[in-house]
């Protein structure tokens, strides 16, 4: 096991006019599950590959523990890429399917068997070790693939979109299992995904990237509750945070036909009068006082005790669709107007020009 450190690590592809990864500084703790997340082209896979040795580091360095691995060949780094895209060998037992790579490395038979048994116990595959893979379920096959990486006993696991080829059910099943397994194994893991739900569900910490730059790294709940900038605010959360144009006025921030009381020390941080208010869908409620923002409901989606209301707010541009999650026994109908209340303490305020959080 080991820590991983990126120190000003930069990758510029030949002929490119900007860095694919720009001065990345990231410390990953020993045994930590770190998820790199962001949209396509944000640099998350490149960052992982710099750690794996597949991409050159043009400047800066990458460390595993106290060793600078920047110039090392991939096979000398003691990392394992967990490869979900595998075929199981039909004539070999589950045990051999897990342990054959150790045989290639010259690991003695007793040692091989002991490592395979240990991994199989962790993976709930103990009773299947002597069987051929023909009758294994999709989930069991995934676990055999994980077993192949576990028996190698690497310092760091690397996973690049490992669930992207699976159907939705197997994806949920496998992500839960990977997270549980990583906790039990305690091996430092760097995991890349474009899916923020996957990232937030699995990671001890999540690093959000955009345009080659690290935007924020924090525990999932901290990212959700205190996004550092507009990009993180809009990217993390499903449904996404409502990001609404507003103006700084005396006594707070004006949104549509409402002035929300926002502390002066917050509004003073704004570089101009234009700000963006961020409101999570669950931070709206149907106004109990007869005051609030008027929403014209375009669609209603009921999920158990809660309803998601989709619509537009009076005074806010109509192309700005707003989502509110409210608890009510009598959800409004399509076309109806409702009054929404927002708790000012739960509003996120961003500077429109710098896009940084100011609240």
């Amino acid at each position: 096991m080991a820590t991983v450190s990126y120190k000003d690590a930069t990758r510029i592809y030949p002929g490119a006019d900007h860095a694919a990864v720009d001065k990345l500084n990231l410390e990953i703790g020993d045994g930590e599950f770190m998820v790199l997340v962001g949209p396509s082209g944000c640099g998350k896979s490149t960052s992982l590959r710099m750690l794996a040795g597949l991409e050159e580091v043009n400047s800066g360095s990458v460390w595993i523990g106290d060793q600078d691995v920047t110039g090392l060949a991939p096979k000398d780094r003691d990392v394992a890429m967990v490869f979900q895209n595998y075929a199981l060998y039909p004539h070999m037992t589950v045990a051999d399917n897990m342990g054959f790579a150790l045989k290639m490395k010259g690991v003695a038979k007793d040692e091989r068997e002991s490592r395979v048994l240990e991994a199989a116990k962790l993976l709930g595959l103990e009773d299947l070790l002597t069987r051929k893979p023909k009758n294994l379920s999709g989930g069991q096959r995934q676990r055999v693939a994980m077993g192949r990486a576990i028996v190698r006993d690497p310092q760091v696991f690397l996973m690049d979109e490992p669930l992207s080829n699976l159907d939705a059910r197997l994806r949920v099943q496998t992500r839960t299992q990977i997270a549980a397994l990583q906790t039990r194994l305690g091996v430092t893991t760097v995991y890349v995904t474009h899916d923020q739900v996957e990232a937030m569900t699995m990671g001890d910490r999540v690093a959000v990237m955009k345009d080659g730059k690290l935007q924020q790294v924090d525990r999932p709940l901290a990212l959700y509750d205190s996004p550092k900038n507009l990009f993180v605010a809009g990217f993390i959360g499903s449904p996404a945070m409502n990001l609404l144009p507003a103006r700084v006025v005396d006594g707070g921030v004006e949104l549509g036909d409402l002035v929300l009381p926002v502390p002066r020390e917050t509004t003073e941080r704004a570089t101009g009068a234009d700000v963006v208010l961020g409101v999570r869908p669950e931070n709206f409620e149907l106004s109990p006082t007869g005051e609030g923002l008027t929403m014209t409901v375009n669609a209603v989606e009921e999920t158990g005790a809660d309803s998601y209301l989709y619509g537009s707010l009076t005074g806010v541009p109509h192309d700005q669709q707003v989502v509110a999650r409210v608890t009510t026994r009598t959800p409004p109908s399509r076309g109806e107007r409702v009054l929404l209340h927002i708790d000012p303490a739960k509003v996120h305020v961003f500077d429109k020009t710098t896009t940084e959080r100011i609240s």
Binding site: P14, A87, M92, K134, R141, R143, S164, V197
Partner: protein
Amino acid sequence: MRRPAGRNAPLDAAGWHTGPVPRFLSAKPDARLIPLPWGTPLAEWPVEHLVALPRGISRHVVRFIKVGDQVYGAKEVVEHVAIHEYRLLHDLRRLGTPSVEPVAVVSGRVDADGVPLDPVLITRHLDFALPYRSLFSPGVRHDTVMRLLDAMVVLLARLHLLGFMWGDVSLSNILFRRDADTFAAYLVDAETGELHDQLTDGQRSHDLEIARVNIFGDFCDLEAGGLLDESLDPLSLVETIESRYHELWDELTGLEEFSDSELYRIESRVRRLNALGFDVAELDIQTSPDGRTISIQPKVVDAGHHSRRLMRLTGLDTEENQARRLLNDLDTFRARMQLQDADESVVAHQWLTECFEPVISAIPPELSGKRDPAQIYHEVLDYRWYMSQREDREAPLVKATKGYVRDVLNTLPDEAMSRDVLVTVDGGDHRLINPYDPSLGFVDDLEGDEGPVHDPWEEAAEGIDAGQAEVLDVDALRRRG
């Protein structure tokens, strides 16, 4: 478009299903594919649409499907992967890489109950292809194995020269074709591939490591199934792959330095690359400031030195070593006919009509599926050489062709499309559990696999709702802290 109704699909007055219909993404559409039962999972397709051809193992459901006299490979896989692979295979073909031809992606499939099915990637079956499971079997000659490994190494180096990182090099993802006395390897699965401008050393090294592990696993699996010749050791086979790859890569791209008195080494390097089947498109030549040291390094090399020349002269599309053999025969023809001063393309046309075509047209049509034409010509030349040795005079080509058909071709198995579903091992036969899916193994692999097993992970997974994939459960996040 309409298609026959499924069990619960909405029907129109004529009994046709009016629900969602599949969508075909295709550059060269084959209309005969459209009426196939796309509303049925590939694993459940009626056998009248299938053909059982030998192939490697796969994680996905893969079948060979037949429409008319054409056979296609079909792979059921999630949409973004299907489209990625379809486009990548197109790029590889455009770059002249030996790979299977992508035909279509069929998406928008739903079953009779309206449940979505994964798209299907369709590729054209490679005629005269020999899957590895039939090539390393007991009785195989050691030099044949080395030629197969060399073919694989050449393919990997060619792909790496183009900037292609395969990501899943394995024997299952390669097909071999005969190429004169050697083999040519073809890529048949590009699912994990990536095309870059240029690969880093780390990417090549990673690909090679994947190749080592996967191919070692492939050989161990053949060994476990009794399908590997006992004289072959999986470990030494994969070590051979690595060392041969490095030798070839160094020859293709390495920097060579020599003194200014050895300028002939420039020509030697080019000739060595030509002999390996590569043309040098760009050679970087540098001289030291004192002019005493010359360094050369190939910057752009293209595979297909001989096959391109043969294609230009005759229009014949062959493998590289077949082309080398045919070009040698063309040169011999030129000398024998004393045509040294004639235009090369005129001589080539004469050779084609007086030598090559008469041999190929003398092959009975019912035997033409045993070898492709260039391979037949190569084998006829071999046969003629032995015949001439025996008779102590040069045997005429027509007579040699008749002898070859009678003594050799008649006895060979059909390789255009082998339908053998039995795998012979040490005199016994192993029957595949499913003749259309070798990934499931043999019937006798199942011995001792009866009875349920306790698997707490599967039990815990039973209540999982696929809808959870899309929704962030904030309450659970807060409980976690």
